[in-house]
């Protein structure tokens, strides 16, 4: 079946079964490999992308349910000021270890900072609890979110 979805501001046409996860479409059909496949079962957060600004798990999002929603992936995260602050903070604090989880971490962090510009530790715990990191970069992630919040203030 034909679907037209808006990814990073561009209309993209794909021909797949309606049940196909958005993650498969992004990586295999649209060649946007920044979004990672971790568990495929809503358990790790590696596949997090934004749908109308909200973080969602692309592995649990059937393409048939996307409709006219705007999808943003890690490739376009630098298009908003908040995304740029997150990128800068991530580079400054050298957050990634192996890096595999980081696209998902950045998507969740950017969504958090977009609606909560000065998050408390509690806000960060809640918003980031669905994103796992095997390399345990959690303390650097927390520091980078706070640093990005600072960058947003100046």
């Amino acid at each position: 079946m034909q679907y037209v979805i808006e990814v990073n501001g561009t209309a993209r046409r794909v021909d797949v079964d309606g049940e196909t996860p958005l993650l498969w479409v992004l990586r295999d059909k649209l060649d946007l490999k920044g979004t990672k496949f971790g568990c495929g079962a809503a358990q790790c957060g590696a596949c997090t992308v934004h749908m109308d600004g909200q973080p969602i798990r692309a592995c649990q999002t059937p393409i048939a349910s996307v409709g006219t929603a705007r999808i943003t992936t890690i490739e376009a995260i630098g298009q908003t000021p908040v995304g740029q602050h997150v990128q800068a903070a991530w580079i400054e604090l050298d957050v990634p270890q192996c890096g595999y989880c980081q696209a998902g971490q950045i998507m969740s962090a950017t969504a958090l900072l977009t609606h909560t510009p000065a998050p408390t530790d509690h806000d960060i715990n809640d918003a980031m609890s669905g994103n796992l990191c095997r390399c345990a970069t959690y303390t650097r992630i927390r520091a980078a979110i706070k640093r990005a919040a600072d960058l947003g203030r100046t």
Partner: protein, 427 residues
């Protein structure tokens, strides 16, 4: 010579007609065995089909299901059609002992003679015999005499036979026959009384299919209750659910996933339509306020300022799939907004699904792509209670709060390492 070969030809064609008939009969029997979901209880995971051995808890002790393959020593190989019929429709085994009513013979009692024969032909001629001795029950000796079951039967088991209801058409009556009979839907979905009997076996009684708690799951109310039942489901919704395990209102979980995998996904479109026509005719048990979507929760979650207890936990653990709107992505990922399981006065299924997730649902060999993961390791009892309470009070849902103690009890009883045997556990 010519005459001889003519005789041979006639004979051969007669034989092949007979063979085709026999094949038809066993195919029909196989279909009926699926409609009755015999395999659900008469097999164990990894075991041979129909060889029995599944342990089931009853109020008096643990029993084990029996070998119903045609093995003459350990199975039902020596059963005549009459023996088979007596066990199936009256709950009396070949040696005269009464079966425990975990075997749904009170439901099977409505089966037609022809169907009993087709089922018998299938079990005798198409099921491979398996030599596997039946396990003993561990019912204590003072409770083990079976004669009280005869009294139980006299009190509770309906008399055999199906009487079509002239007030309804043939399709409805076919649905009644399947739901009340072979489908034995009431075994889980009808509340049980003081002697563990199903309170009702037919459409005339408001307790029939009104929902029941079994094995830490709340088997849903299948009547027309607009909030907690199927009152907002169309016939097409019911058909889709029984065929695939999903529709725009809900997805299957618990032992219903197996019922769909082993039984309802194999039913013909006509039979599914008959079941749907029958179910939508069952009046609600009580008047309920219909569910209406309320956008306030979604607005609060979108802005990151939802501060109801449980809202933040929901945002962190659930929202990435079920969305801020609670609408998720049906028929693949079920909505929480307006879902009868979320609105159920008994929160057992909702708690159970959050703690233990859902098993793969395979409809006619095709596994579903989306599944509820387990959260028993990630979330404490208090957190689960908060999340579940939040879901039950959001998006227009109105259902009572859940306590951490309720979650703790279900967590304990569903501990995967437990060897506790639960009532009617289907695998």
């Amino acid at each position: 010579m010519i005459r001889l070969s003519l005789v041979a030809t006639v004979l051969a064609s007669l034989l092949s007609v007979a063979a085709a008939r026999a094949e038809d009969a066993t195919a029909r029997g196989e279909y009926l065995a699926r409609a009755g979901d015999c395999v659900a209880c008469h097999s164990v995971p990894g075991g041979k089909a129909f060889a029995g051995g599944l342990k089931m808890a009853t109020p008096v002790g643990t029993i084990a299901t029996t070998n119903i393959t045609p093995d003459p020593e350990t199975g039902i190989g020596r059963y005549t059609l009459d023996d088979f019929d007596r066990a199936l429709r009256r709950g009396v085994a070949r040696d005269g002992h009464h079966l425990y009513p975990a075997m749904p013979y009170p439901s099977y009692a409505v089966m037609a003679d022809d169907d009993v024969r087709a089922l018998y032909d299938y079990f005798m001629h198409a099921v491979p015999p398996v030599r596997q001795a039946n396990l003993p029950s561990d019912i204590p000796s003072h409770l083990s005499p079976r004669w009280p079951l005869a009294v139980w039967n006299a009190l509770f088991a309906p008399s055999p036979g199906f009487t079509p209801n002239p007030g309804h058409d043939a399709r409805w009556n076919r649905g009644a026959y399947l739901v009340e009979g072979l489908g034995h839907c009431g075994a889980c979905h009808t509340p049980r009384g003081w002697a563990w009997q199903e309170k009702s076996f037919g459409a005339g009684d408001p307790a029939f299919l009104a929902g029941a708690n079994l094995d830490d799951w709340s088997a849903s109310n299948l009547r027309r209750n607009v909030a907690t039942g199927l009152g907002t489901w169309s016939e097409a919704d019911i058909i889709a659910f029984l065929k695939t395990g999903h529709n725009t209102h809900a997805s299957a979980y618990g032992s219903m996933s197996e019922v769909i995998a082993n039984s309802t996904s194999y039913l013909t479109d006509d039979d599914l339509a008959a079941i749907a026509a029958y179910l939508v005719s069952l009046p609600a048990t009580q008047a309920e306020t219909p569910w209406r979507y309320d956008p306030a929760t979604a607005t609060a979650l979108q802005s990151g300022h939802a501060d109801a207890p449980g809202a933040r936990l929901y945002a962190g653990s659930c929202q990435a799939c079920h969305r801020e709107t609670g609408a998720a992505a049906p028929p693949y990922v079920p909505p929480l907004a307006g879902n009868p399981t979320v609105l159920d006065a008994d929160p057992a299924s909702l708690i159970n699904v959050v703690l233990n997730g859902t098993a793969p649902l395979v409809a006619k060999g095709r596994p579903d792509a989306y599944r509820m993961p387990q959260f028993r390791a990630q979330l404490t009892n208090r957190q689960v209670a908060e999340i579940v309470t939040f879901m039950r009070a959001s998006w227009g849902n109105q259902a009572p709060a859940v306590t951490a103690d309720e979650v703790a009890a279900i967590r304990k009883r569903t501990e995967p390492s437990t060897d506790r045997i639960v009532p009617l556990r289907m695998r």
